[in-house]
Symmetry: C2
Subunit: 368 residues, 2 copies
DNA sequence: GCTATTTGGTAAGGTGACCTAACTAGAACG
DNA sequence: CGTTCTAGTTAGGTCACCTTACCAAATAGC
């Protein structure tokens, strides 16, 4: 057995708490930090010195303050603290955000998709987006890259997992391998729905939380006890494989109903949305039944505090009320069912959060 | 914001690691502990001194050792380290184990059930069992009581939750209240299936793990990332409320098929078992379909490494193979499906583990 | 303008939990 | 009987935190 806790974890949690506090408040003095976090003034001074030496924070000029006594030194995010890159790879192409360590997006980069199934074009687009991002870098080192993939991802190997009938077969590439010669920063890879859940959870703040994505595919992102649930094989949330009304899977039944996917590589979201817009009662009934099955299953298994519906179909306004009613009829103590608020940007927001968290953690543990 | 990590957490994790190591090895010297845990010899000596002063450990006489040099002082669990009480309350009555802090069961106490729905008799039996346990206490203080209830339990208030159609309506009591005047030790309460999962997880060792109970009711215990999932309202694992093949719940459909429960307070387990023993094809088909629906749902939602089937019906040998086949047909990367090994004793084992964990943690944080 | 007050920050010294290195204690081997 | 091996202690150091006391600088009010 190894040493359980090195003493340095104390310093690291202190540094992290103070860094987050500075970023959250934009500009603070050490005295304010001490008051806000409960650390003593000497401890705050030491920590801020470490963070400043490491380039993560920087002192600003004196600040107009309405207060009475001596004006303190204000600190803010260092100009060369570095940046992270969040990349989204899906059927709509490749999109990336370059963000500073406060999470502020500085540059956007996009490439259109290749043809369906064209893996080569996708790889080229991914490399082109990252090359473009590296060509106009924000100040400081690139500290992490997080890639959102519209396919399941293995939790430890970070390999993309091939499932039969995936709506995104061209996305069966390993972003870490594709980008290995372009970036030296660590490349994190996760599923787009997981990352969307991460982003939406940040806004909702619930300790147990499920995000149901309904679009070209069906997906679920789960947060329990402040941790993302990825599953033993990276297949947590693959709710297309939920048992349906018959002996088969939910996805197969949706496909048989003319929705969703089974062996069709992709699903016509615009057609589904049009049917909903036109108040097609059959389309509504099928979708409500499917979403209710998903929400009911998640509720019975993990009993989350909040379930958010996301994705182009999931956020359609006509869905929410009937799903709520159906779930309430099924479950004795149903979760709050709401709409996601971040829309199609949720995966990029989540990837940014993932990259940031990793980048800041790594930068702090690497401090003297 | 409060202090993130007090320095004492280091000491507490050290003490805990060493205590667990001593208990796991029965008898050890400090030198062996240092080698096994990676702590330095002075640190081990200090920690062992704290644990010995607190009564949790005690030095034994010299030990026959095949080794060459000086014989060290061996340490073992202190004779008056105290004990914990695990209590199970269900339709079969009230059962309790008094165990020492190594988890060794010292005494057993049992009371038969009252009539179905007879809450008064159940409360009397619970008090009688605890009184009996307190009358023949093992040495040392009673440090914790854990109660396994055959009903859902709220994760924070520890109140038992009333669900319509519960097979155990008389069990709608608060053990903490019932025992308040009998014991001063903390009374922990949890659901029997959760505790069974805790116990079985201990034997299996998987990081993500689901325990499916099939007996008088349907239940699920979930372990993800080394943590028990209780749900926002204590209703995680209430898989009777899973969507069934039709618009209703799985439990309602089982009831309609002559199995399970809906508004009948209890289910005739012996009749179901007899049907399975007699190779009744209809009974087998209905049960396999239901269990497959449960395992498939859990797999699609959280993707556990292992799923154990437990409970009198769940452990029936004819179920395993067809369920495995059906799950494999449904899921792209199914969990290992096995039988639980602890049988009806699983909840008591789990309650013991819960009580032990709490007791040792509390004893160590209370140390000088 | 001068002083009191208020606020920011540093210096000095202490504590707790860990470490390494060097020692003493005691048993067995040859 | 000395050598060698193992157990455990002592001494001294480091690190991350703390409190207390002080100095520094700015405004408020006279």
């Amino acid at each position: 057995m190894e040493r359980a806790l090195p003493q340095s974890v104390l310093r690291e949690t202190t540094d992290r708490a103070l860094f987050d506090e500075v970023v959250g408040r934009e500009r603070v003095t050490r005295a304010e930090l001490a008051a806000a976090t409960g650390f003593s003034k000497p401890t705050v001074s030491e920590s801020v010195r470490r963070l400043t030496d490491g380039g993560l924070l920087a002192a600003t000029g004196p600040q107009e303050t309405g207060r009475r006594g001596r004006v303190g030194t204000f600190y803010e995010l260092g100009a060369t603290a570095g940046w992270v890159l969040a990349v989204e790879v899906d059927q709509s192409g490749v999109h990336a955000w370059a963000a500073d360590l406060a999470g502020r997006v500085r540059h956007r980069h996009d490439r259109p998709p290749g043809g369906a199934g064209d893996t080569r074009a996708l790889v080229d687009a991914l490399r082109a987006v990252v090359t473009s991002a590296l060509a106009t870098p924000p100040a400081g080192p690139l500290r992490a890259v997080a890639v959102s993939m519209a396919n399941p991802v293995h939790p430890t190997t970070h390999e993309v997992i091939a499932l039969s009938g995936t709506p995104f077969p061209e996305g069966l590439v390993s972003p870490a391998d594709v980008l290995a010669d372009l970036v030296t920063a660590p490349v994190l890879v996760d599923n787009d729905v997981n990352l969307a859940a991460l982003a939406e959870q940040g806004s909702v703040g619930a300790a147990s939380f499920a995000y149901v994505y309904v679009g070209a595919g069906l997906g679920l992102g789960l947060y329990l006890g402040d941790r993302l649930v990825r599953g033993a094989h990276g297949l947590a949330g693959e709710i297309g494989y939920l048992p349906g009304a018959g002996p088969g899977t939910l996805a197969a039944e949706l496909a048989a109903d003319g929705f969703g996917r089974s062996d069709a590589p992709s699903n016509d979201v615009t057609a589904v949305l049009k049917a909903l817009d036109d108040d097609d009662p059959r389309a509504l009934a099928v979708l409500v039944a499917a979403v209710t099955r998903v929400v009911g299953s998640v509720t019975a298994v993990v009993d989350p505090e909040v379930v958010l519906l996301g994705g182009p179909v999931g956020t359609h306004p006509t869905l929410l009320a009937p799903v709520r009613d159906a779930v309430a009829a099924l479950s004795p103590s149903p979760a709050r069912v709401e709409h996601g608020t971040l829309g199609v940007l949720a995966p990029l927001h989540g990837a940014t959060r993932l990259a940031l968290d990793h980048a800041v953690r790594a930068a702090i543990t690497g401090l003297p």
